[in-house]
Symmetry: C2
Amino acid sequence: MDLSVDLDTRGDRVGAIYRALLAAIRSGRLGAGDRLPPTRSLARDLGVARNTVATAYERLVAEGFLDARVGDGTFVADLAAPAPAPRHPGALHPRAGWTFSPVRVSGETGVPPYDFRVGIPDAALFPFDTWRRLVAAELRSGAHDPGRYASPAGHPALRAALARHLAHSRGVAADPEDVVVTHGTQQALDLVARVLVEPGDVVAIEDPGYPFAREVLASHGARVVPVPVDADGLVVEALPPRTRLVFTTPSHQFPLGPPLSLARRQALLEFANRHRVAIVEDDYDSEFRFTERPLETLHALDRHGRVVYLGTFSKSLLPALRAGYLVAPRSLRDALVGARQLADGFGAPHEQVALARFVADGQLARHLRRARGVYAERRELVLAGIARVPALEVVPSAAGLHVAATFRGPVDEAAVVAAALAEGVAVEALSSYAVEERVTGLVVGYGAAATASVTPGLERLARLLGGPAR
Amino acid sequence: MDLSVDLDTRGDRVGAIYRALLAAIRSGRLGAGDRLPPTRSLARDLGVARNTVATAYERLVAEGFLDARVGDGTFVADLAAPAPAPRHPGALHPRAGWTFSPVRVSGETGVPPYDFRVGIPDAALFPFDTWRRLVAAELRSGAHDPGRYASPAGHPALRAALARHLAHSRGVAADPEDVVVTHGTQQALDLVARVLVEPGDVVAIEDPGYPFAREVLASHGARVVPVPVDADGLVVEALPPRTRLVFTTPSHQFPLGPPLSLARRQALLEFANRHRVAIVEDDYDSEFRFTERPLETLHALDRHGRVVYLGTFSKSLLPALRAGYLVAPRSLRDALVGARQLADGFGAPHEQVALARFVADGQLARHLRRARGVYAERRELVLAGIARVPALEVVPSAAGLHVAATFRGPVDEAAVVAAALAEGVAVEALSSYAVEERVTGLVVGYGAAATASVTPGLERLARLLGGPAR
């Protein structure tokens, strides 16, 4: 038998022989039924004591890799034959009804010179030094009981800081116990879908709207019905009568832009109360608003406890922080916390405490003030750039990190987006957010685009669209 | 009208008046239909220009809080009446079939003097200084594209490091693309359930077993069938014929302890292949093994691509890191990555890269070597302590951070656990992990118990059980 044994390794000769034999069995060099050499002869070949070999054999027998047959010898067990390396495609397939494949996201592609993609904040504005100091301060041996399992609702300090922040900045009245910390809006939506959606339930989404909301609701069995959007936001009158849940973006309709009007807000709340509907209010980028004061949130206007309010730090700080939250009616809180426990246990306490300090110490407000100024400037440049293109008509909005513009005449949207990208200008097709509505145009983000790149980028776009800029 | 306006704030008098009026409307001091004072008289009262008040009114009219009736005056709009603070219990309730409420976990209770609770590693062993340095090094402005959205599968560096680590330490053959990073075993299980379980599917779990596995599978509509466990692990012959998925802990049956025998492993794989069953192999604490070499994993023995392998850093490092992984057959990989994208987007890249360095640079191996020595000593003390109690019979096992012991005679398990806790000794009731099996005894963890506390803690337990120790 050709057995390669490395007897120099740390003097553990039994272990070395054991591992060599196991490797031979695994690789197939020793096959099922093969007889092993007698311990005496292998010991002589290897220059070790016979007992050393015998002990290695005994372990492999005890573990079932070898069979010792009394008076006959030692054999490789039938059961021990090696599995081939799993290069095969596998025999497990998703269940019937699972249709979602992962979508390539912004971090998986190159960065274009003129990056007007949607939903990307400017990482250069983020106070990394402050954040690193806060995180490092919480990453210490005695802090936050790191060997134990923490509350799925989130650290009390962060829930308290968020409750205060939301009351002050958004008029959302919540006790800390009403807040559930999440990894972002997507997880919040998933938790809501888990506890509210029964297979076949009618769920209304905005059209155009946020594709991952549609997908996660559908993945829980919802019958997702797209509802049109106009200049006052979601068309409440178009909600299907058997709706169980409405997903809406009232501050800054995603991706078109208009806020949901106050009349519509009231109509939606009345509809929800009359038909026993849940409203999921996604307030994803309202921190960047460019009017004195936004409309009241649905949560603040809600008299009956039918609104789940979602917020995220992915736009206001960074997606990489993986931090968001929801505010839920009392009657739903335990179920949502339980859903988080089943989904992924809990979030890292040291990060939550660092974030609590960031919020409570005024760092968040300071960052938002600074970022708002930068984004306001870019926004003006974007609006001016679009205004110079006769083919584009901007959709009015008052908040956020992007604006949408529709085409005034017949324009081949896909061709424009592709031609722009070929010139280094990444804009998004409005129709890519639509389900049934026939809406074409462009969505232009200004979170990722450096201020100096905005005007030249939009001039390139203007040339493609036959605008006046050269 | 009693309007409190702070006209000192940053000189923005329009904003100050606007905010004061809005606060009055919100608080109910100005009710729907109330007439506002003429701009001239309010301006005089406040000592500001009339135009300042008029501009504030106009904003509130534009936003729908006020109605301007030509020739009549300005009134609080009907729609603008304030919502009461949401102290009401809410009107949303979990869907039919949602039965799970959050379970109190180890970090939400006090720490008992003799802490033999299960699944808690010793945080004092974790190299916090190294970890903090690694995390801080990745938390810098230019690194990892933190403004963009990253791959839901996990950072390529971590997937590569895990693939190498698993090949070396567990004989799991996987390419980096076969690895999906998760927040731990719980999330991995959730992803598997999402893509494999249809409502009504029969899913087999071990009894006694891991309660959160049962709960998350049931929450996705599985008909969960408990299957008994004996000294060879899961009783494969007892699997129901219509099983679609089996959840098992072959290295160290949770919580009883025995490894799944090689014969049973083969029988399980054959059963899975014959009946087209998915096997979920949870290898949750096999890093701490106290024999030379463990049995091959199901994943390594699988010839047909029917095994999804789950691992976690919650036992080998810390639960607070929120890090785990799964290795999936190719045929299921896209669906699982998609499920992660819908569940919570992706994990924080800077942490994943820090963990990749920790694994690839040998820090993980170094930590495991050291921790294994500490836990081996505690384990010997636990086994010796249990051996001194005639009423307890230890269940043989070879790995992990806890041992189970059954009662030799009739013992009131709940009374023993409660009496022990009253003496500062936290042990767990074996029956708390069982569904249908009538099994009583104690589960004794030694991850959290300081080495010096083990013997005195078990002596207290022995006294309660009428043992000889004093």
